[in-house]
């Protein structure tokens, strides 16, 4: 189902003080898309995602789900919409006094699922998240990753067309985060469910999202294809978020002499594999030192970053630089950082 948020505003009134949590936010999420919203904590990401199922009613603006304006929905109509929107949370939010089985059965009961079919459906869902042996266990006896998988099974119980994920991996360790990402990808592949995923973890963003919206102080400052966001971040906040994944440190105590120049090269796509460096040192009268380098994969596509030092005649360096510019995605001249600090963007 397509989700359209149009000029959504959310205002909290607390003790006479107004807090404008979401400002004029507009997004369109396509059917079957994995759409991510990233940004620092307090940016209003969670508030925005909760607007989609009206856990947080907006002060103004429009919420369209599957072509239907649900902004003013209440009671049974709202509950019917929510049956089609699953949601998982950072802290899992399972019923602690109910077994794994009953936690999942709850969602089915909410949908008046035929009683005699509940058992089979719960077991099928447990199988999907690989927890068939945990049906009669209480959540307290599960690991974080297992709890989130139960929460996913609960969220998928009624075959929703939308899955909202509110910092769903933020309380998990790396291994469990990977597992949840794998499961979500599989779910998205098997039946085209629309996923909206909130996170501050850019590592999750690059592995999972098709498109990304960046939020800061209640506003959406940038929206784009994931690869594009990582390779060509426009907004300063996006640049700083991205740089944390692609960060490259200038070696400490590095001082450039007169005949030297430091370059940061970003290369994308197929060109990532080209033996650029050996070509440069062969064809130009310069010495090429590789100071630092790495390749990150974003949606399976390589993005390489290389920090190199060229030494030689100024004119030759310039020629080499021109040649490199023609070959790579982006080239930046970097000055030696005083304290060997981090380089951004």
């Amino acid at each position: 189902m397509v989700i359209v948020l149009d000029k959504v505003n959310v205002i909290f009134k607390q003790k006479g003080r107004k807090m404008h949590a979401v400002k004029e936010a507009s997004i369109t999420v396509g059917k079957g898309e994995i759409f991510g919203i990233v940004g620092p904590s307090g940016a209003g990401k969670s508030t925005l995602v909760r607007v989609i199922n009206l856990l947080q009613p907006p002060a103004s603006g429009q919420v369209m789900v599957g072509g239907q304006d649900i902004t003013r929905f209440k009671g049974a109509a709202l509950r019917n919409v929510r049956l089609k929107i699953g949601m998982i949370f950072q802290h899992f939010n399972l019923i602690s006094g109910a077994t794994v089985y009953n936690n999942i059965a709850f969602a089915l009961k909410a949908n008046n699922y035929p009683k005699e079919k509940i058992r089979a459906r719960v077991l099928e869902l447990l199988k999907q998240v690989n927890l068939s042996d945990k049906a009669q266990v209480y959540p307290a006896n599960l690991s974080g990753g297992q709890k989130q998988r139960v929460a996913i099974a609960r969220a998928l119980a009624n075959d929703p067309e939308i899955l909202l994920c509110d910092e769903a991996t933020s309380a998990l360790d790396l291994e469990n985060t990977e597992e949840i990402i794998r499961i979500l990808r599989r779910i998205n592949r098997d039946n085209p469910i629309t996923i909206v995923f909130i996170t501050h973890e850019m590592d999750v963003a690059r592995k999972l999202f098709d498109r990304i919206a960046v939020m800061a102080e209640g506003e959406i400052v940038e929206v784009g294809d994931t690869y594009q966001i990582f390779t060509e971040p426009q907004h300063p906040l996006t640049q700083s978020l991205v740089s944390r994944v692609l960060n490259i440190e200038v070696p400490e105590h590095l001082e450039l002499k007169g005949q030297e120049e430091m370059l940061k090269i970003t290369y994308t796509g197929e060109r990532a594999y080209e033996p650029l460096i050996s070509k440069v040192s062969k064809e130009f009268d310069v010495l090429v030192d590789i100071l630092h380098g790495k390749i990150e994969y974003i949606q399976g596509k390589p993005l390489g970053i290389l920090l190199i030092k060229l030494s030689g005649e100024a004119a030759e360096i310039a020629r080499a630089r021109d040649y490199i510019s023609g070959q790579v995605f982006k080239i930046e001249r970097i000055s030696a950082a005083k304290e060997g600090g981090e380089l951004n963007g």
């Binding site: 199922n53 949370f89 802290h91 019923i95 006094g97 709850f106 609960r154 009624n158």
Partner: protein, 220 residues
Amino acid sequence: MDSTWDILQLELPSAIWETLIMIGISLAASLVFGLLIGLILYLSSSPLFFPRRTLNAVMGVLVNVIRSVPFVILLVLLIPLTKLIVNTTIGPVAASVPLAFASVAFFARLVEGAFSEVDKGVLEAAIATGAGLGLILRKVLFVEAMPGLIRATTVTVISLIGYSAMAGLVGGGGIGDLAIQYGYYRYETGVMIATVLLLIVIVQGAQFVGDWCARVFTRK
């Protein structure tokens, strides 16, 4: 002068029975009305459900008024009402009326507290599934609040045992009254010690059973 043993043999069985009647009736009233009032207090104050400021305030004041009146005074104040309801003002059943009032108000606050302790995120997740209110109350709110509700019941029962001793003032009888009548007014120290010991055992027992039940329902 009768021996301590004679007095106990004569008076204790009926005293225990009277205490049981008083606690039974008031506890039943608490579990029905106190739970209901506590639930309404919670639902009307929680932003997740039906925030109704006025209803919440009015109910809160009513509960507080009952809780502010010292029980001995409530006992006397409610005599006309007791007469109206049970057509007598003497005996354990009559004493149960003011006891029930006090314990309903007391229990209602504890119930409200137990519900407030329930993790908001869990309730929110339940709301997000599209479940109706009835299902959320039965399968989430009550399940999650159960250990708290059991502890609230334990505290209420123990308070009732204490309050029921004062019911002697309106001829309610009971174990506490036996202690006052014989142990205090007639200097029967033996009766006093025996009844107090018995009360200690009962209170400990109630606490033990309550804690055990709460533990069974705590799945954390």
